[in-house]
Point group: C2
Chain length 446, copies 2
């Protein structure tokens, strides 16, 4: 499937934020149009046709042929962009291939990835002469309802669209899949002197040919400073994975999302942030070893927070990589090891009897990787993710996963209770492993 991106408008209401052409205004590190292109790429749509108008040169200069983003970009120019966005959409007619289904998207609309994916899925069962329109009927959740194009719908058919419709039950998200029907309707409406995309969609709606796909995720039409802010908040919130541990959810994410927002505009890659987090844990280990447990503890917790940032930046800027995932998880183990060795060394250097240090440090060190070992093995054997928040049952609040362990270490550092911390670390990690044997045994799929 190819994608047509409408990027012809002027977008004057965002001037307050930036002097750049609207599609190129950066939002959390990515210009609006680049985010749309990368989201499409994530859905395996790698052929984009961009319809330019107002800022044709700037957009072309910035995106080029798309090779840097791993996609192919073709440009079409609509010199009559001022007439209306229907004229821009109709520009695609010259490249349209008979019987092709293509996705039509506005450059300044930001969608959660799930919306794109579900629309592409829904497009598989369209009739040949239909237009599929992503729409939102969760009216209470819609940002800036006034500005939206409203839809009066019966079931999943649009009856009529319009900005000033009085009776409506959904709004237009600015995301279509066209089978060619829209191009014909555009030709017709433009011939009648009606230049807005909505005019052509209404021609099809009258024929009962506009099928609505109701979305369940968030989207924003970024057209003024308020919606820009709203979009930032929405995107940041979408970065929290569903399977976060307790400490992550309640404490770490509050900080990591702020750091992610701050770092998003820099060129720092997720892998660089992984290394940064690792280095912080090394400094934590050294602080512990040289008898500054308060600093050691705080840095351990800071490293834990940074450990969330690499993933957030990766998801936010479409920079996920399999290598990054392996790299992060192995380096995390080393970070844990160094911190616990630092603590053990501190205890050793102040203790008369080193046997308890040797044994307790061994018990704590060996417990550190067990949670990951179990989860990964469980996944390779069953094909399913082990979700501590669900599968660990009553033990889900045991601080035996990384967020919990580093939080324990912070407390141990601050209160200078190193032997006790090592003992608790060893106890919770090994106890968790024992418990998980039981869980695994009881799961019917094992």
């Amino acid at each position: 499937m190819r994608a047509v991106i409408l990027a012809a408008g002027e977008g004057s209401r965002l001037r307050a934020l930036s002097q750049r052409p609207k599609p190129l205004i950066p939002l959390l590190g990515l210009p609006l149009i680049e985010r749309s292109i990368l989201a499409l790429k994530e859905c395996d749509i790698k052929d984009c046709i961009i319809i330019t108008g107002c800022y044709a040169d700037e957009i072309r200069d910035y995106l080029g042929n798309g090779r840097q983003l791993g996609v192919n970009i073709t440009y079409l120019h609509n010199s009559d962009w001022k007439l209306g966005n229907g004229v821009s959409a109709a520009t695609f007619q010259e490249l349209y291939r008979e019987n092709e289904k293509y996705i039509l998207i506005m450059a300044d609309h930001i969608f959660e990835l799930e919306i794109l994916k579900s629309v592409i899925e829904a497009a598989k069962i369209m009739e040949d002469d239909e237009l599929l329109l992503a729409s939102d009927n969760r009216l209470e959740k819609i940002h800036d309802l006034d500005e939206c194009t409203k839809i009066s719908a019966t079931g999943s058919r649009a009856e009529r669209l319009g900005k000033d419709l009085e009776n409506f039950n959904a709004v237009d998200c600015g995301l279509f899949v066209d089978t060619g029907a829209l191009q014909k309707a555009l030709a017709k409406s433009i011939a009648q002197g009606a230049y807005a995309l909505t005019d052509a969609v209404n021609i099809l709606a009258e024929q009962g040919k506009v099928k609505l796909h109701f979305v369940n995720h968030n989207w924003v039409d970024v057209d003024d400073p308020a919606s820009y802010k709203y979009c930032e908040t929405l995107l940041l919130r979408s970065l929290i994975p569903p399977k976060d541990g307790l400490i992550s959810r309640v404490i770490n994410r509050k900080f990591s999302l702020r750091i992610t927002k701050l770092l998003s505009s820099t060129k720092l890659t997720p892998n660089q942030i992984t290394i940064l987090s690792f280095l912080v844990s090394i400094v934590s280990a050294i602080s512990f070893a040289f008898l500054n447990p308060i600093l050691g503890g705080i840095l351990a917790q800071f490293s834990s927070i940074l450990d969330g940032v690499d993933g957030e930046i990766a998801r936010l800027k479409y920079l996920q990589s399999k290598y990054g995932e392996v790299f992060d998880s192995i380096l995390d183990r080393y970070a844990d090891y160094f911190i616990v060795i630092g603590m053990s060394y501190a205890w050793y250097s102040t203790s008369a009897n080193s046997l308890p240090v040797l044994l307790l440090s061994a018990a704590a060190l060996t417990g550190l990787p067990m949670s990951m070992l179990f989860k990964e093995k469980y996944k390779t054997v069953t094909g399913k993710s082990y979700l501590p928040e669900i599968n660990d049952g009553r033990l889900r609040y045991l601080p035996a996963n990384r967020d919990g362990r580093l939080f324990l270490i912070m407390l141990g550092g601050i209160f200078n209770l190193i032997p006790a911390t090592l003992l608790i670390l060893a106890a919770v990690t090994h106890f968790q492993t024992l418990y998980r044997f039981k869980v695994a045994r009881n799961l019917s799929n094992l």
Copy 2:
């Protein structure tokens, strides 16, 4: 697909080995017919029709309705079994369902699983009136060629079958998929007074309707003590996984296969052997700790050998379980931990300065789980197995995987070089991890 198992014959030539009915003669812990049923089950064929004759009651008493094996068994009795195996095969006519494809197998033929799988796959593209016959054209590899039913074939069509055929280029493996054609041919040949299965197959062969499926794996017609022995050797050899490490391949398997052969006739489960291997490693740890490093080292290596036996028994007796796989891999980590802690304790108890003990033991302990961590993470992220023998390149001989590590520990114990062993363990495991980062980075799929 249903399976019909011919188990009507007398099998007098195996009397030398056992007084039990031939299909019930145990081979490496499983009666011949039970092995066939479990192999079929492994291929998702869970409805078996057993044609009994000579030992009807004994077979029924032993297998029952199959529930204990997780399959459904129906019995058909052929009181005229002495006439020939064609009469037994024809007994199935009364349960045959129009247009059904079924697999026909001899109770005393043992096949490597890949043969069954490939025959079932090949059966998907049969014509409606064909008979598919598994056959082997690797004549030099065939055990007891004299006893085989020979095939004269043109391409993948059988022209003629017979025990005394002079010109032949393949042999019959005793494994068929019938579309109903064979049942018709059996009726015809029996009416003509020809009672052998081969007689009916020859009727179809004359019509060009016997399609041959050439096998690439091993099989045995177990009908005398020599073929029984051969089958044991073959099955044991098939238990060696393709991705064994150096020490496993060259040393451990030599012993573990012998132990597996010995234990196969006991009721010991794979999980019990896993626990046994773990207990041996605990005794090894204690031996090290109480300053008997030679015994500690030997027991560590013995535990490593036993670590192969659980998997061998599981594969041999169709006792694999996902739980067993998780259980084994986690318990292995604990076994490693205990042995290294035992070594560290021994060093500590004889050393004036305990700081090197603390640091080197930490370095060794933390290295132990890294190989597994990396391999499992690699698999969950890429969906592919990390194969040290291939992916580790020049480092594949580094003794950093479990077989190599425990071998190092044995050497360290025997030569009483505990600090050096800990140092080498730490060095090889962490170096391997560093190297694997590089490998992972270079793999195009990451």
